[in-house]
């Protein structure tokens, strides 16, 4: 199965968002891939787009089954969430559970005016009623494969597949 080129996809995503997204929208990336994408988008799209980072480990719905991830990062939102326009950014949208967790966590910081979702790749397979506002590419992927975004030393992004669905 051929994966799209990550750099091209992110350019396509930025194109879709340019002009549609609010001038002062805050971009909140979900670690780790979403954080990289959020940073790139903020650089590529004109406007005031401060970048925040969310780790959803404490809000996941599978904690009882799988326990705490070995590495938990700090959620950092260097702006007021109350009344803000937020664009949640993730690299791969699959079941929708991570986004659900991110939205719950966001709301513990305040009441945003509105929340949009931007994803680099939408691979379908939703288990919750969540749809992206902006998507870079849409793919159909076998359930036993996961799509992984990696970032090289020079910042270049690449998409690859790995065994183990996620």
């Amino acid at each position: 199965m051929a994966l799209p080129d990550a750099e091209q996809t992110i350019a396509a995503l930025a194109d879709r968002m340019r002009g549609a997204v609010a001038f002062d929208a805050k971009f909140v990336g979900i670690y780790s891939g979403g954080a990289w994408v959020a940073e790139r988008l903020a650089a590529m799209i004109d406007g005031e787009h401060p970048v925040g980072y969310i780790d959803v480990s404490f809000y996941r719905d599978d904690f009882s089954r799988t326990g705490l991830k070995p590495e938990v990062k700090r959620t950092e939102l260097p702006f007021e969430v109350e009344g803000a326009t937020i664009v949640l950014v993730d690299d791969v949208l699959y079941t929708g559970r991570s986004v659900r967790a991110a939205i719950n966590e966001l709301f513990d910081f305040g009441r945003p005016a509105c929340v949009e979702l931007a994803v680099l790749v939408d691979r379908g397979g939703r288990e919750l009623p969540i749809e992206p506002t902006y998507a870079g590419a849409r793919l159909a992927v076998a359930r036993d494969l996961s799509i992984v975004l990696s970032r090289a030393e020079d910042g270049r992004l690449t998409l690859t597949t790995e065994a183990g669905g996620a």
Binding site: S57, F58, Y59, F63, G67, L68, P70, E76, N104, F109
Partner: protein, 319 residues
């Protein structure tokens, strides 16, 4: 004999002692505490991680401080918290310790935070739970006799790491009644496991246990040589009973020789930090000038204590 703290998959299932815990496990707890510390800065100081779980504080020995921090930690994780002060409940009517535990498990307890005056009490409870197949119930030792106080040891390690970064370059001095101190024992094991090259115990001979060197500790009987060059100074609380037990003649003499004053602190490194597990006896083991001074990180220890306990509860609940 398998380590009773680890389950069949090698994951931490009880926190009973820092002795024998692999460095990776300790570091993971410290790393996990970092994001939990940031939760204190939010408006909503809660995450839903332990929602639906019941944490029972089983305190056979009174302690408002420790119990409160565990309660705060558990509540910030959205757990239900039940406090049991056993002096006032069934055990004083003759119910055995293990019967009390069994009754509480029947009430769907997921976690026991246990403080007891006898060394080994949490081990007894954990062994009983393991033996009776209750593998989903976890025990956290909140202090057993003079044996261990692992969450205190962990928050002390967290504090030291926060201010000093690398354990492998440090000289740490622990001053006071090491003989009776579970805090000291936990800290000693934690420090040596994480590679601290020099750990010192400083105190009068009556307050130092036998064969302390076997734990990897240098023993000093005077603060002048003991504090020289220390990066971290940890002051232990001196309890009044020690005077009655013919271990010390008076508070005055103790303070003169072992109490931390600005003059004694000057023997340590210029950027040394001062720690104390609390509660402090001002004028007994520590001078107010030092306790309130700029090298004191004592109040940070309290904040870090909540984050570390949240990390411990979360890791155990997920295993």
């Amino acid at each position: 004999m398998r380590n009773p703290q680890l389950n069949a998959q090698g994951e931490l299932t009880h926190l009973l002692t820092l002795e024998g815990l692999p460095a990776e496990v300790i570091v993971r707890i410290l790393d996990t505490a970092v994001p939990f510390a940031s939760i204190a800065e939010r408006d909503v100081k809660k995450v839903p991680l332990l929602r639906g779980r019941s944490v029972f504080n089983l305190f056979f020995e009174n302690s408002t401080r420790t119990r409160t921090t565990f309660e705060i930690a558990a509540k910030r994780l959205s757990a239900d918290v039940i406090n049991l002060n056993i002096g006032f409940s069934s055990t004083s009517k003759g119910e055995t310790l293990l019967d009390t535990v069994d009754n509480l498990v029947a009430m769907n307890a997921d976690m026991f935070v246990v403080r007891h005056s006898q060394s080994g009490a949490p081990h007894l409870i954990a062994a009983h739970l393991n033996r009776t197949g209750r593998l989903h119930v976890h025990v956290v030792n909140a202090g057993d006799g003079r044996h261990q106080h692992p969450t205190q040891g962990l928050l002390d390690l967290f504090t030291i790491r926060h201010y000093k970064k690398d354990f492998r370059a440090l000289t740490v001095g622990i001053v006071g009644d090491v003989l009776h101190s579970r805090v000291a024992r936990s800290l000693i094991h934690g420090l040596t496991t994480l590679g601290t090259p020099e750990v010192r115990a400083i105190g009068p001979k009556t307050l130092l246990p036998t064969d302390l060197q076997a734990l990897g500790v240098q023993v000093y009987n005077d603060t002048h040589s003991g504090l020289a060059g220390c990066d971290v100074v940890v002051m232990l609380r001196l309890q009044n009973e020690r005077m009655k037990g013919a271990l010390l003649p008076s508070v005055g003499e103790y303070f003169k020789h072992y109490g931390l004053t600005p003059e004694k602190l000057a023997l340590a490194k210029p950027d040394a930090i001062v720690m104390h597990p609390g509660p402090m006896n001002r004028g007994v083991e520590i001078d107010s000038a030092v306790a309130d001074g700029e090298r004191s990180v004592i109040f940070s220890q309290v904040t870090f204590g909540i984050a570390v306990r949240m990390a411990v509860l979360s890791i155990l609940a997920g295993n």
